[in-house]
């Protein structure tokens, strides 16, 4: 009886709608590739905007974006870490789907931030780093070369010399409060992604769930620029 259920029940993380053999084949193929190319689970709202790949560095300019990039992997059962984030909001992280029992926090690594991040990259899947004010090209290179041999993603909240993609919040607005009444309900923010020389992509996200607003609800950026 148990063997029958083992055959019919899909394994952990498998999509029951698709063929099991096909999915397992994909998984084996992913393992045979270099670790640096493996895809890393990302929140659905962000996945098509900026798909995360192991071994790459992504720069963000807001704490909520950093949390959102880490949330997908944490939801999928991976370990995540935060280095240098002395103002980590645990409740917001949990609301986004980050499993706090699989979260490592080094709020203040001080002068050892590079070693700490390198050690975290060895064992965790997503590492969010808030580096000190200035990081030179050479220091970033050390971490990048370490990353390429691991299956981790580095999310830098701050300035970083080289990054696969840069995400920044262009504008945001809150709904809810009106001079003294109501409360914060929802934030809608326009996120712009710069990837190398490609033209920047924009998308609207709603917070705190980091849902993608459907494109037909978004006014065309060109028209907006023309009017503004």
């Amino acid at each position: 009886m148990s063997s029958a259920s083992a055959v019919t029940a899909p394994g952990p993380g498998l999509d029951p709608a698709r063929s099991v053999v096909e999915q397992l084949r994909e998984r084996v193929a992913a393992m045979e590739r270099r670790p640096a190319l493996q895809p890393v689970p990302t929140l659905p709202g962000i996945a098509d905007l900026v798909p995360l790949h192991a071994g790459a560095t992504y720069a963000v300019d807001s704490a909520s974006l950093a949390l959102a990039l880490a949330a997908g992997a944490s939801r999928a059962g991976e370990w995540v870490g935060f280095a240098g984030c002395s103002d980590f909001g645990a409740e917001a992280a949990a609301e986004l789907g980050i499993e706090l029992s699989r979260t490592v926090l080094v709020p203040d690594p001080g002068e050892h931030w590079l070693e700490v991040t390198a050690a975290l990259v060895d064992v965790l899947r997503v590492v969010v780093l808030r580096p000190p004010a200035s990081v030179d090209e050479r220091t970033a290179g050390i971490l990048d070369s370490r990353l390429r041999t691991r299956s981790a993603v580095l999310v830098v909240h701050g300035s970083w010399p080289r990054a696969e993609a840069r995400l920044s919040v262009e504008e945001s607005s809150w709904s809810g409060p009106v001079s003294g009444t109501g409360r914060l309900v929802e934030r809608r923010s326009r996120v712009v992604v710069h990837r190398g020389a490609r033209p920047p992509r924009r998308a609207d996200l709603t917070w705190p769930e980091a849902h993608r607003v459907r494109p037909d609800e978004v006014e065309a950026p060109v028209a907006r620029r023309a009017s503004g």
Partner: protein, 527 residues
């Protein structure tokens, strides 16, 4: 043989509080006197009295909280003393133990009782009463009739005769069921145990049920049930001595490795794992460093070695204002050469409760090892694990637990916590809120009156933090919500009336500002 130490809860609690055993004292549970000692009884304090009544009878009464754990813990040495004289001791409850009377080794039973009594009094347990009889119930009643440091020996076959004269009241010690039975027996006109014993067995069983029948059998001295003696607990602590004493943390850490392995193996042999271990380091025969470590799962040999390292390292470095970041150079020396390290298991649990999954938990092990390496770099408490807890401000609703420690004393999350700020949780929570300023139309500081009324509309604000990312330059308020007033801990001074506001700046970023009597502060950021 039954050894009875009357009012054990009070004795244990007074000893722990470091008070004299002559002062009147009572142990309270739910504001009702549970146990009181002789001096308190002579002032009129009784079991079941309310706290206020007891204090009215005896104003100098020492009130102690009830704690069954403490009672059992304090009774452990008493068991050990008796165990030295005769193995096979059963602790019936804290304050009452039974042991097979040491036979002819000590001569007669009276001599045996005298020996046990003397050993206990030498162990500073003053109020000891001993009863010896054929069965447990009779021996307990004999002990209860004995005087302080005296014994009553019921001769063989004399149980029924001894019990005959006792009032039925003695059954009341048998918990609520016993008290109920005593009331019923008294209403039936049965005054002594002899009256009950004389009734026919089937009549008692029909009227009083199985419990009543068992009590009747006991009252006739026919209840021959014996006690299950405990096996002495195995000695689980492990120590290692160094000759000559070692002065460097690295050397000590290296030398305790095999000892730690032996400690874990020994526990595993008993099918146990340790989840809390006290590590003691002695120098010159004096314990110079002792600390209890808790593990979220259970200790392995490697974890123990790490704990020894951290403990000695933190004891060695001059404890500079909570600096968790230690330069690597000044560590490595301990204050005094250590000549002995001891592992004492404080919390052990059956290994079955901590079994690993069938396929192992390799990735988790990997993470633990990697994180332990980070702890080696920046210090034990600089690596943390976030946990949620209950509270009103965002900072109070989360706690950071050092990695490898268990979270203790967390406030429950599922309570309503009135006064907490609704809406999405803030993404950034500042540990030390930077100062802020909020002004109204006329440029005056917005305040909160005694009754929690906001003095004006919030118009412009700024925050000045230690770092640029905690600072907000002057900017107009585009929307605000609040106040959410709280007045916490007013019974101990507290911070005074405080209110929180959600403020959206002109740039679209939202903040949580708090106004306390001291001024404005920026508590958290929403993006």
């Amino acid at each position: 043989m039954v050894v009875w130490c009357p009012d054990w809860s009070v004795v244990a609690a007074l000893e722990e509080a470091g008070r004299s055993s002559r002062s009147p004292a009572a142990v309270l549970a739910a504001n009702v006197v549970e146990v009181c000692n002789g001096p308190a009884r002579s002032e009129g304090v009784r079991r079941g009295q309310r706290r206020r009544d007891a204090q009215a009878r005896c104003p100098e009464l020492v009130l102690l909280p009830a704690s069954p754990d403490r009672d059992a813990r304090a009774f452990e040495p008493v068991l050990a003393v008796v165990e030295d004289l005769r193995p096979g001791v059963a602790a019936l409850r804290p304050g009452l133990l039974a042991v097979r009377a040491p036979g002819s080794w000590y001569g007669t039973e009276t001599d045996a009782a005298a020996t046990v009594c003397q050993a206990l009094v030498e162990g500073e347990v003053w109020d000891v009463r001993i009863g010896i009889a054929d069965d447990l119930f009779t021996a307990e009643q004999a002990a209860r009739t004995a005087e302080v440091q005296q014994w009553v020996v019921v001769p063989e076959g004399g149980s029924a005769a001894f019990l005959r004269g006792l009032p039925v009241r003695v059954l009341a010690d048998d918990g609520p069921r016993g008290r109920e039975l005593v009331g019923l027996l008294q209403r039936l006109g049965l005054r002594t145990l002899g009256d009950l014993a004389d009734l026919p067995a089937d009549a008692v069983e029909q009227r009083l049920g199985a419990h009543g029948a068992a009590v009747r059998r006991r009252a006739r001295g026919e209840d021959r049930t014996l006690f299950a003696a405990r096996t002495p607990p195995p000695e689980l602590d492990v120590a290692v001595s160094f000759e000559p004493a070692l002065a460097s943390v690295e050397a000590i850490t290296f030398s305790v490795r095999t000892t730690a392995e032996r400690f874990v193996d020994q526990l595993a042999h008993h099918q146990l794992v340790a989840t809390g271990v006290r590590v003691e380091a002695e120098s010159d025969g004096v314990v110079c460093s002792s600390r209890t470590w808790l593990h979220p799962r259970h200790f392995g040999a490697r974890d123990l070695v790490d704990r020894v390292h951290w403990q000695l390292q933190s004891a060695g470095s001059t404890s500079g204002a909570g600096s968790s970041l230690r330069a690597r150079k000044d560590t490595g020396r301990v204050h005094a050469p250590v000549d002995r390290v001891r592992f004492v298991p404080e919390l052990v649990e059956p290994a079955a409760a901590h079994g690993e999954a069938l396929w192992g938990s390799a990735s988790d092990d990997l993470v633990e090892r990697g994180v332990a390496r980070v702890q080696g770099m920046v210090g034990f408490d600089a690596v943390q694990r976030p946990v949620l807890q209950g509270g009103r401000s965002p900072a109070a609703r989360q706690a950071l637990v050092p990695w490898g420690e268990r979270a203790v004393d967390l406030r429950p999350v599922d309570r309503p916590w009135p006064g907490r700020v609704p809406g999405p949780a803030p993404v950034r929570v500042f540990a030390t809120p930077p100062q802020a300023e909020v002004v109204d139309d006329a440029g005056r500081d917005v305040r909160l009156t005694e009754r929690g009324v906001v003095t004006g509309e919030l118009r412009r604000f700024r925050a000045r933090g230690a770092s640029p990312e905690q600072s907000v330059p002057w900017q107009p308020v585009s929307a605000w919500a609040g106040p959410w007033p709280v007045d916490e801990a007013w019974w101990t001074g507290g911070a005074g009336p405080t209110a929180r506001f959600q403020v959206v700046g002109a740039d679209g970023r939202a903040w949580l500002l708090v106004r306390s009597p001291e001024g404005w502060a920026l508590e958290a950021g929403y993006d």
